[in-house]
Amino acid sequence: MTDVALTKKDFTSDQEVRWCPGCGDYSVLSTMQAFLPELGIPRENIVFISGIGCSSRFPYYLNTFGMHSIHGRAPAIASGLAISRPDLTVFVITGDGDALSIGGNHLIHALRRNVELKILLFNNRIYGLTKGQYSPASELGKITKSTPYGSLDTPFNPVSLAIGAEATFVARTIDSDRKHLTETLRQAAAHKGSALIEIYQNCPIFNDGAFDQVKDNETKEGSLLQMVHGQPIKSSTFGVIRDGAILKLVELNSVDESQLVVHDAHDPDPSYAFALSRLSGSDLEHTPIGTFRDVIRSGYSAMVNDQLASVITAQGAGDLEKLLHSGDTWVVN
């Protein structure tokens, strides 16, 4: 631990930031740089591992350890690091293509294992780096370079997918909302296992305005269903009520506030968080924002290292000499 408290500047590397002007990645970066000192973790114990994509350039700009790896594989690399080095704090930086397309399998496996990774999924609903093809998060019918007649693929809902994959922490936030982003990072950092944060991120070049519905002053209040643990879930106009095994939206003025669902991020049954995740469609008109789910389950790295330790406690540390001589041996004189 360093004695002097670190500042945002300490976490800023000397590399020139190279995103397009107006890219949402800038504000996430700056929020992260500002947030990291708060963790009280020395820089050298923080590692950012990314895949490939515009957003995956993120690690270069942070003065911590960092690896810009290959497309889709960051969760796998980060798992190896986190498991063998439980002393480190490991972030994964990924895009909607990186995490959900080529890297989908590593993502869901990291989540089910609950490896202690904080995964930031920059969802701009497009392939930015390769200049504008649709991604598994793009809306049905989207016209892109590779779908000039409109895409035919139903997108993933990243939150539903993560919950279906046994995730213990899943949240959603927005690039431009520093406060909300910071609070979400804070909760994720406090979580003991895998944390997946979906960040709606604007790509002004290839998918400009994708999130205007939840960013524009006229529409955002009415669209964002705020999820705060212990608070009723609602936007300025709509609220969430229960209806059978599912959750439904109602206009606020049609119900009494007491009927609204009070958010419980710690509900052990993921069905609740899953139901929340289904409130939003691609059009973002009703978009739950905040932490869907935050439950306790042992972290994978912790379990692996506990298992090692308990075997050593029970059997003593390994003795190479003994190992080589195990089983039937004989002597030649």
């Binding site: 360093t2 590397s13 590399q15 020395p42 820089r43 050298e44 114990n45 923080i46 590692v47 591992i49 490939i52 690690p59 270069y60 942070l62 003065n63 911590t64 350890f65 960092g66 690896m67 810009h68 790896s69 290959i70 594989r73 796998a76 690399i77 980060a78 798992s79 190896g80 690091l81 986190a82 498991i83 063998s84 080095r85 002393d87 480190l88 399998n105 590593h106 496996h109 692996v304 298992q307 090692l308 075997v311 050593i312 059997q315 003593g316 540390a317 390994g318 190479l320 000499e321 190992l323 080589l324 001589h325 089983g327 039937d328 041996t329 004989w330 002597v331 030649v332 004189n333």
Partner: protein, 613 residues
Amino acid sequence: MSLMSKPTVAVKSVIIRFAGDSGDGMQLTGDRFTMDTASLGNDISTLPNFPAEIRAPQGTLPGVSSFQLHFADHHVRTAGDAPDVLVAMNPAALKANIKDIPRGATIIVDKDEFTTRNLTKVGYQTNPLEDGTLSSYKIHPVALTSMTVSALSELPLSRKEAERAKNMFALGLLSWMYHRPTDATEAFLKAKFAKKPDILEANLIAYRTGWNYGETSEDFATSYEVAPAHMPPGIYRNIGGNIALSYGLIAASQQSGLKLFLGSYPITPASDILHELSKHKKFGVITFQAEDEIAAVGSALGASYGGALGVTTTSGPGIALKSEMIGLGVMLELPLIIIDVQRGGPSTGLPTKTEQADLLQVMFGRNGESPAAVIAASTPSDCFTMAMEAVRIATTYRVPVFLLSDGYIANGSEPWMIPDVATLPKFDIDFAKSQENFLPYERNPETLARPWAIPGTAGIEHRIGGIEKQDKTGEINYEPANHDFMVRTRQAKIDGIEVPDIEVDDLTGDAKVLFLGWGSTYGPIASAVEELRNNGEKIAQAHLKYINPFPKNLGAVLEKYETVITPEMNLGQLAMLLRSKYLKDIVGYNMVRGLPFTTAELVEAAMGVLHND
């Protein structure tokens, strides 16, 4: 069980093949016979032959599993071409193996299994035990099943359970025939079935009954003795390739102080390394069964980045999947060990069979100029040494290292003089220290290695990645000259790896023909060379364990010989590398049958060259 009432004949070497249904326990039987034989001081070589990877119906040809064992009063190099004894537990085992058995050999069969039903199953029209087709063999039809069952009639066992012990009857019989000591196997059984006293009892009784049957039955007139081999003094154990490899990795971890991290995905014939290493948690070994091969090698690379000894194990199809990630390893210049236990290919190929056809894949199967070190183990016990060598190279030069093994040495076994731990090499690992103006790609001028700069070290925070990097700083760099320089530097680093010279065994110093092999062809080649020399031929032998880079003296060695024959279980992959590098016309001897070479065919091949057929 000591009084010998029958004549004993001394022989110099014996090859026994145990064959039966997958469920008959032939591997265990073979293993036990091997152990008892080893402890007598014979030299040994073993070779299991598994059926195809899925269990075939009982009693059918694809279901036959066998185990061959060669033991002698002298040094043996292979499990032998032609068995002296075949133990066939059913008609399928007989049928599947008879073509390998030379006339005059001994065949012991369980005659109880030669029912019409079982015979028809494998296409025997008449009973070979009766129709005279086996007349040129010494055939012993033994009522193995029924004698076992009746010996166990007192025990509270079902018939099925009782029948299961028949392999112990067979083992007992063979133990008698070859004067093997019985106490180790009895001890083994006691440990194995400690919790199942009935089963233990059954096995012990069956074993002893088998022994007694040999001693008393008139069918077995002679027993045999094989004198101990002259082996260097020391403590020995029998060891298979996958176990030796696992031990080598643990040893390297201990000798380097690095935590061993295995990221792996199961695949035949490499899975046993994962199984073995997962047992050794007390050595701090972490085994991570990843979701696929990409994640397996990715996690190993992540662990390496964190300062562990990152290892991944697989076979050919897994290497194909790992190749992109290994390319990242090349770029990151981190230690990474990739073990390829080769099997028959291409594609799924012949998963349970051996082959050497991944050499060019590991050399070149990555995009761009992406050099990595490649070394190969030559025998089961050599896997121990080469695993440590892989670690030496990876940690010294900070490069991905491929260690090639194959199904033959992975599953085969041989006696191994257990090395003194004190004499094992120590690896000094120097992680980068806290410092100012740290340059992550500044190189050690001798090794060209960059610093191993692990998270947790204050002051050297830095970023690396798969995009081309600027010399020294490691920052992203697109400059043409820098790229060319870095490409050449990565190549130079591999080219500069220090590896021992290749040794040539040229008894008289004037042989004109050199047998040059690599990997698991060592045994068959050495055996062929021995036989050729016994026949008065002059032939030299050399074996390549370091393939990228080649030993420095290799060019000179090749030049010295008029003809170089390279037997490979592929279509000529090493030959291609040698031809290209040294412009020397290598004579390939290539068979891609999923099987090791026989001594005989290599002798014949050499004779062709020696006498210009």
